[in-house]
């Protein structure tokens, strides 16, 4: 008995975590996927109703708004974060004396909760006393900037705050990528008379494609999960104009009491994330085996 215990000690130590993950991740995923195929409304019912909830979900205008917002938001969010992050990383890579300090400044929003930064941006963007008033006080009396309360524009305020929060992170990723490039190649290109922009466009950026890929995955993942920022900044409003799948799911589950639809939307979110993350994890784990 004691011998058995000793031989299996590593597995016994691992067991609690494994059981926790099995139940709280995989068990729960199965529960949600199953409930999405029942007729559950306010309380879960364990019957089988096929794709009823998915049909209901795809007939809700609010779900389409949420999906459209997700596309608009993640497209702009990923694009601007990448562009700003790459620009900052390349600039910091030019042997700047203050690099450490600048990096600290560019990255600090990442340490803060989205609830905190959302509160700050809510104040800055509020039409009454924020940016709008500031520009009017400068003499542009007819200046208007009321995106926060404009149903068509409110989604862009979330982009503004999201990009501000996350572009420093992209910079850190790209900077790490730039630093890992063999400096001999760059020196050689320099000797051949290649200009700095050509070196970046022709050699450095193409060789960073793995970094681009992982940054893209992380940003896409952040975008699909975005919840805090929307709740704080717009509350999903005006109306449900800035709803996204994460807030939609939460509203259906905890406010509207429509568990089946909520489970269906959560399952769709999971499948979307899996479509991006599984190939990524697979390639990362494979890569390590080959090293």
């Amino acid at each position: 008995m004691l011998r058995w215990l000793q031989n299996n000690l590593p597995r016994i130590v691992l067991a609690p975590s494994l059981v926790a993950v099995a139940v709280f991740v995989y068990g729960f995923i199965i529960w949600t996927a199953y409930v999405s195929m029942t007729s559950s409304k306010l309380l879960p019912r364990y019957d089988f109703a096929g794709l009823l909830q998915y049909e209901k979900l795809w007939s809700m205008p609010r779900w389409y708004v949420a999906l459209e917002n997700l596309f608009v938001f993640s497209g702009l969010f990923i694009f601007f974060c990448m562009a700003l992050g790459l620009l900052l990383a390349i600039m910091l890579d030019q042997r700047i004396r203050l690099e450490g300090a600048l990096r600290t400044i560019y990255l600090y929003p990442m340490a803060l909760s989205f609830v905190v930064t959302g509160t700050a941006w809510k104040w800055i963007l509020n039409p009454g006393l924020g940016v709008e008033k500031m520009v009017r006080d400068l003499g542009f009396e007819s200046f208007e900037f009321n995106w926060l309360v404009d149903p068509d524009m409110a989604i862009y305020t979330i982009v503004i705050a999201g990009v501000w929060q996350s572009s420093g992170f992209v910079m850190a990723m790209f900077l790490a990528g730039l630093r890992s490039i063999d400096s001999e190649i760059i020196k050689a290109a320099h000797m051949d008379g290649a200009s700095l922009p050509r070196i970046y466009l022709g050699i450095i950026i193409p060789s960073m494609s793995p970094v681009f890929f992982s940054t893209f995955v992380v940003l896409g993942h952040l975008a699909i999960k975005s919840f805090d920022l929307i709740v704080v900044l717009t509350g999903g409003g005006p109306g449900y104009a800035t709803d996204m799948p994460a807030t939609f799911m939460y509203a259906m589950a905890f406010q509207r009491g429509r568990i089946g639809i909520s489970a269906a939307s959560a399952t769709i979110m999971l499948m979307t994330v899996m479509a991006v993350v599984v190939p990524y994890l697979y390639s990362e784990l494979r890569k390590k085996d080959n090293d």
Binding site: V21, F24, W31, I105, Y106, L112, W123, L129, H221, L270
Partner: protein, 281 residues
């Protein structure tokens, strides 16, 4: 200096302003009276500095119908974060140790399964988790939230320690085994003393994640047991009374201060966690 160099510094400077302006606006707004806010511009310095918004945010701001300020919620977040960080870090260290130095058939699959857990959108576990917490009798309580954060923190903690322990030579463990050292002796005497940097990275990462969490907090807490991020949202998005922006800003800064300080004093480790958490391998 060349023209290009000047241009570079100007652009870098513009970005410094871009990132610091919201912080500047927060600080000065939190030190203004409401009249001052209405009269002056968003960027103008306070005519008279007042700490009343900070005192009110801490002692007497209204969160829902209770007007006792943020201080109770601050301690809630401490009571959630400290045990959750400690437990998930210890489990992560043990898991990483087993998965690298006591490998068994299927260890890689176990690791992949845990890793995947880091990436799921948590919406997919919210409803069953709410039921599970009710079933365990900890719904709406602080121990309930500790459990949630531990369970979903194990993945990242394991990832950090595993990738770190892979770089420690196996010979070290083999030599100790030949000398008769057991599983825990090796962990305690050999692995842990070498683990200080990765412990710091993991603790900082987990603390930042848990302190900043909003989704679990808003889903699984009730009444006076809410974490501070949820309390902040309730203050900011309350629909009653005059909008007190100075109070909102002071409250937001109180919520942001702990993770901000961690970042300022241990930013190096924070960045390591950030990049390690995304570039796996």
């Amino acid at each position: 200096m060349t023209v290009g160099r000047w241009l570079l510094f100007i652009v870098l400077g513009i970005f410094v302003a871009y990132f610091l302006t919201p912080l500047y606006v927060m600080v000065i707004t939190s030190l203004k009276s409401l009249d001052d806010i209405r009269m002056g511009g968003m960027m103008s310095l306070p005519t008279e500095i007042t700490f009343d918004p900070w005192i009110k945010a801490w002692n007497s701001a209204c969160v829902g119908i209770q007007c006792e300020g943020l201080n109770g919620y601050f301690w809630n977040s401490v009571k959630i974060a400290v045990p959750a960080v400690l437990i998930s870090t210890i489990l992560g260290a043990l898991n990483g140790y087993v998965l690298t130095k006591w490998r068994f058939r299927g260890a890689d699959i176990v690791f992949a399964l845990m890793l995947f857990g880091c990436f799921i959108p948590f919406q997919v576990v919210l409803m069953p988790m709410a039921r599970m917490l009710g079933f365990l009798g900890v719904a709406g309580t602080i121990p309930g939230l500790v459990l949630v954060h531990v369970v979903y923190g194990i993945g990242f903690a394991t990832l950090f320690f595993r990738n770190y322990y892979v770089t420690i030579p196996d010979e070290l463990v083999k030599a100790a085994t030949i000398d008769g050292a057991g599983f825990f002796t090796i962990f305690w005497r050999i692995m842990l003393p070498l683990s200080v940097p990765i412990i710091v990275v993991t603790v900082i990462w987990q603390f930042t994640q848990i302190w900043n969490d909003f989704l679990f907090g808003v889903s699984f807490s009730a009444g006076g047991g809410q974490p501070i991020t949820v309390a902040l949202n309730n203050i900011v998005n309350s629909s009653t009374g005059v909008k007190e922006y100075n109070l909102d800003m002071a409250a937001a800064m109180i919520v942001g201060l702990p993770t901000f300080l961690v970042y300022v004093f241990a930013g190096r480790y924070f960045i390591r966690g950030l990049t390690a958490g995304s570039v796996k391998g």
